[in-house]
Symmetry: C2
Subunit: 157 residues, 2 copies
């Protein structure tokens, strides 16, 4: 199973210059299963739909994504009531590293989170975050997307 190694940071101010060449996409996602050590979600990205399982917590998580069709997405979406979120994702390169900046919509506004993915934990720990990265929230349960979808924006966010 592929391992997802990522660090997450709060963002206060949009890095306009860095985002000039970003690829922008709208994401809607909802959670079907949320267990202490496992979650299953569906995600829509334009015409693409996915069912994803993530296991574990913290810096490294097991992740597996299955491409589904719109009929499956539509059949499952009603079951994610109260556990949904929408965000605009900007994907961009910075210093040869791919970053994702998520701008949350709805009740989660004005939350913005920067995610950086790595191949190894060593690489993740050695990385210096850019100027617009605020507090690090890697492994912080309040900022897991499943928790954001359920509980909303943290009080200190």
């Amino acid at each position: 199973m592929p391992i997802e190694i990522e660090r997450k940071f709060l963002v206060e101010k949009l890095p306009v210059t860095e985002l000039q060449n970003a690829v922008l996409g709208e994401i809607e996602q909802g959670y079907l299963i949320q267990e202490p050590d496992r979650e299953v979600r569906i995600r829509g990205k334009g015409v693409l739909f996915f069912l994803t399982e993530k296991k574990g917590a913290g810096l490294s998580r097991d992740e597996h994504e299955i491409a589904i069709n719109v009929q499956m997405f539509d059949a499952l979406w009603p079951m994610t009531g109260g556990m949904q979120l929408e965000k605009a994702r900007s994907t961009f390169m910075l210093d040869s590293h791919q970053l994702e900046l998520d701008v949350y919509h709805g009740a989660l506004k004005p939350l913005m989170i920067l995610e950086a993915e790595f191949l190894t934990e060593e690489q993740a720990l050695a990385w210096s975050p850019p100027w617009f990265a605020g507090s690090e929230v890697t492994g912080d349960k309040q900022y897991k997307n499943a928790q954001l979808a359920k509980a909303g924006k943290p009080d200190n966010g």
Copy 2:
């Protein structure tokens, strides 16, 4: 992604002695996506439900299974219409090797298929099938479960 390495054989006669200590379970499964090189199915085994993606063909296939809940199963099951099958699976040990004998119900009766899973292709190829294993159908598209669910029992089966 875990790799599934298996060999499959037709079975003409139930091996009663070998099945004495078998664990028997009923399986119902339906196919949601069937592409040339990928399939996504749901399976119910008593109170357990799974969504599984298989990629590739032949002796080794990539397989990933996600445990789902009964609500998800029920929401997706109607979408597998015309692509469903039921079978009784006996799981048993023979010469320190775990085997599965599937006895198909409904339109697929009296089809019986023996499956043996292996850790490596070398192990799979070196294995000598037991006396009750008939023609080998490993990699035979007609005997893939997705194809059986859709097209029914092969004429020569």
